[in-house]
Amino acid sequence: MHKGRAKLLQGNEAIALGALAAGCNFFAGYPITPASEITEFMSRELPIRGHPFLQMEDEIASLGACIGASLAGRKAMTATSGPGFSLMQENLGYACITEVPVVVVDVMRAGPSTGMPTHSSQGDVQQARWGTHGDHPAIVLCPATVLECFELTVTAFNHAERFRTPVILLADEMTAHTREKVALPEPGEIEVIDRRRPTVPPDWYVPYKTDGSLIPRLADLGEGYRYHVTGLVHDERGFPTERLEEVQAFSTRLFAKISRNFPYLEQVKAFRIEDAEILVIAYGCTARAARAAVRIGRERGLKIGLLQILSIWPFPRRSVEAALEGKRAVLVPELNMGQVRREVLRVNNGRTQIVSLTKMDGSMIAPDEILARLRELK
């Protein structure tokens, strides 16, 4: 338990508070259920601190404004749900290629299209990974509790700043709208990472030249470092290039700066998996049902355990691989048609039996449903 005073908080409020704790000082958004509470919260809190809040004309504009603000040195966030997230894919790719830190919250709701705005879903898992066109790395985090909403939003900002990349917080309607009693960490207890800015004089600054970290230093616009930012593939100086060796080097680095940090990015929570014969792998709201199922199942003598995934992309291959070891079967419950199951299958590579529990009717998967599915595995 953290030191802070206990409060009754909604997931969406915790996301907004997490952003503020991480140093978010710019927000642009567009109203959409079930993410509007985040935008409303920021519209009240940012002006108090003298920071910009914008309600833009659409989600495209919201992310555009965030990227612009981030280039000018702000820590920016936007929040949306599936339909708006689809619109953001264009500028998400821009943030990837220009390497601009920004946090995008997608509170998933039942889709496709308008779907069921007030019902939970986990249908955007693969969109969060592959939504924007072209090959690109992605960092996506998935909270299941109100406290995790807070903590993972802080982590999202830290990853965005550290790796100079957009980071997606993939929440769901259930998690975002659930209220829980939580004690949030005090400011001193929170690690806040800021982007590395150039230390050389402007004349020496080569905007996309990197040191061993593969992550270039980012200068704020208007600080004397006059450089060019473009969505075209660019050379180290930031100018468009089509030279084969420069293009290849660029794309390779864009991936490598994330992939060489896979172990650092992996985030999972294990619950009673040591002696488990059957493993449940779950994330977001479904992980809570799975945890309840494990609790109840254990009371009934079932040897089951849960691996909750928090860092859903890059997929936590090492942790999942280790957890699969020696299990008789693995159940992946999710509110989609099996978007994470296919990743588990990939990692499993034929070792153990992987079964799915999918639901697309807008309601939650209940602990009983997981237990019933587990019984079928006997």
Binding site: A6, L8, T33, T118, M174, T178, K181, R291, A366, D368
Partner: protein, 203 residues
């Protein structure tokens, strides 16, 4: 005076507050959650209905109360159901725990889901005695407190005053007192004890 109902397990108690949009069930859920969570130090989670159902139609709030961290935040087996409309009583009675406390508005729910339901005139009393129909939800909360001991009246009062608009403190205190009185009256009827008539000093 707290009466712990024997039907409520200590580990995890599930409360569902249901009615139609505008009856303040979501606010009631918030107040109950804060009363238990903040003022009584227990773990609490709350989920409410959203969208069209929150504005007219059947609306609900679910509050899970526990001494251990709460995993699943939705009701799976309801311990306490409050229904302030027939539609809500019909829609949200399918997952009651055997022996659950069913508390309905006597005048608005003509056909309670069970013959064991406790029917009290929350809305009528709120309207007639307090001239504010909207505090029927507060009366219901006080009745839960009185009948189950799940939450203390003082905690309810504190949580309510922190949430409700300034200037409504007296009204809310009176509503809590009245709700508790209604419930006490009911209990007395059940046990056959005589209870003095509801006097003006209680208001």
């Amino acid at each position: 005076m707290k009466n712990k109902a024997p039907s409520l397990p200590g580990a995890r108690v599930e409360v569902r507050l249901a009615g139609s949009g505008g009856q303040g069930l979501v606010l009631a859920g918030l107040v109950l959650a804060e009363a238990v969570g903040i003022y009584e130090g227990r773990e609490v989670a709350m989920v409410q209905s959203y969208g069209p159902e929150a504005r007219g139609g059947a609306s609900k709030a679910e509050v899970i109360i526990s001494d251990a961290p709460i995993d699943y935040p939705l009701c799976t087996s309801v311990d306490v159901l409050v229904a302030l409309s027939q539609e809500a009583a019909d829609a949200y009675c399918w997952d009651l725990k055997p022996g659950a406390l069913i508390l309905v508005d006597k005048d608005l729910v003509a056909h309670p889901p069970s013959s064991l339901a406790v029917a009290l005139p929350f809305t009528a009393i709120a309207r007639d005695k307090l001239k504010k129909v909207m505090v029927a939800n507060v009366l219901a909360l006080a009745a839960i407190s009185e009948l189950t001991g799940l939450v203390g009246r003082r905690s309810l009062e504190k949580a309510l005053i922190a949430r409700a608009p300034a200037g409504t403190e007296e009204l809310n205190k009176r509503a809590i007192a009245l709700g508790a009185k209604l419930a006490r009256e009911y209990k007395t009827r059940q046990t056959g004890e005589a209870l003095p008539e509801l006097g003006s000093e209680d208001l």
